[in-house]
């Protein structure tokens, strides 16, 4: 229970943000927080608080798997740093690149393979798998 005390502010914020399917479990001195955020800003808020409670994420006592809920048909913005986002044939960086989505362009979510890889369609009509970390559902 000690970790739930340490990260009380984070857990309270997760409840306040209305994270759905929120699960908070403590096991072997690691606090596991799972759930789905309704927006990217909710998720960012939680990460800001986490970063304040554990600066630079050094303590190795939290695994926070909170992803942004997005269904098929959702538009998502490509939020790479500068470069284009690779669209691949399959879900993995070992898969061949079949297209590119420009930085700041929009793609349409077709389905989620997992929390890492989403099947998307670009404005140019290319279909393939993109790394979800660089996509912000709108």
């Amino acid at each position: 229970m000690a970790l739930q005390e340490k990260y009380k502010q984070l857990i309270d914020a997760a409840n306040a943000e209305g994270i759905s399917n929120l699960q908070v479990k403590e096991q072997d001195n690691v606090l596991y927080i799972d759930g789905e955020a309704s927006s990217g800003s909710s998720k960012d808020k939680l990460w800001d608080i986490y970063g304040k409670l554990d600066p630079d994420f050094r303590a190795a006592d939290v695994v926070m798997n909170v992803n942004v809920a997005a269904g098929a048909g959702t538009k998502a913005k490509v939020t790479t740093d500068k470069t284009n986002l690779n669209i691949r044939k399959g879900p993995g960086t070992d898969q061949p690149i079949v297209g590119k989505a420009a930085h700041n362009s929009e793609v349409t979510l077709l389905s989620k393979t997992n929390d890492q890889w989403w099947l998307v369609k670009t404005d140019a009509g290319e279909e393939g798998y993109a790394y979800a970390q660089y996509l912000s559902p709108e």
Partner: protein
């Protein structure tokens, strides 16, 4: 005839006397309830007593609480036996963590765009070494956290 009458009255007196010294079910119930109320662990339990048999129902936090309920009821005078119907909810399901090849592949995908970062995976624990800029760190951590590892040891040097 006379003997029968005497015997009958003796029997009647006997049964009256016996009943008199035996605590009533309602009294037994009250004393068990009082004892349970004194302990927050057992405060929410329900007690029923019929012919000296105490039945306890309710939800206990753990097995120790269940045992204590039974002992408490047994310790009350007049209780012949205890029916322990206390339920203990099953412990929460353990956290599912990824440990296998999928995690290894996921870590490779997540660190691909961070050339200064070296990552190793051992039994679900991701260890990060090398260097990264402070503004890139949250993005990397978000990617790695969504892989559901057991934990992440961040030994990165922040530039």
């Amino acid at each position: 005839m006379k003997i029968t009458k005497v015997l009958f009255s003796l029997l009647l007196m006997g049964s009256l006397f016996m009943t008199g010294c035996k605590p009533k079910d309602a009294d037994i119930k009250t004393s068990i309830e009082e004892k349970m109320k004194a302990d927050p662990m057992m405060a929410g339990m329900t007690v029923d007593v019929t012919d000296g048999v105490a039945t306890i129902t309710g939800t206990c936090t753990d097995e120790a609480c269940k045992t204590k309920c039974e002992e408490t009821a047994k310790s009350v005078k007049g209780v012949k036996s205890v029916v322990n119907n206390c339920t203990v909810p099953p412990p929460p399901a353990p956290v599912t963590v990824n440990t296998g090849d999928a995690l290894m592949q996921g870590v490779m995908d997540a660190t691909k765009d961070h050339p200064g970062v070296k990552a190793s995976v051992n039994d679900g624990v991701i260890t990060l070494t090398g260097d990264i800029t402070r503004d890139q760190l949250p993005k990397l951590m978000m990617s790695l956290n969504s892989l559901k590892p057991k934990k992440i040891e961040n030994k990165l040097t922040i530039k």
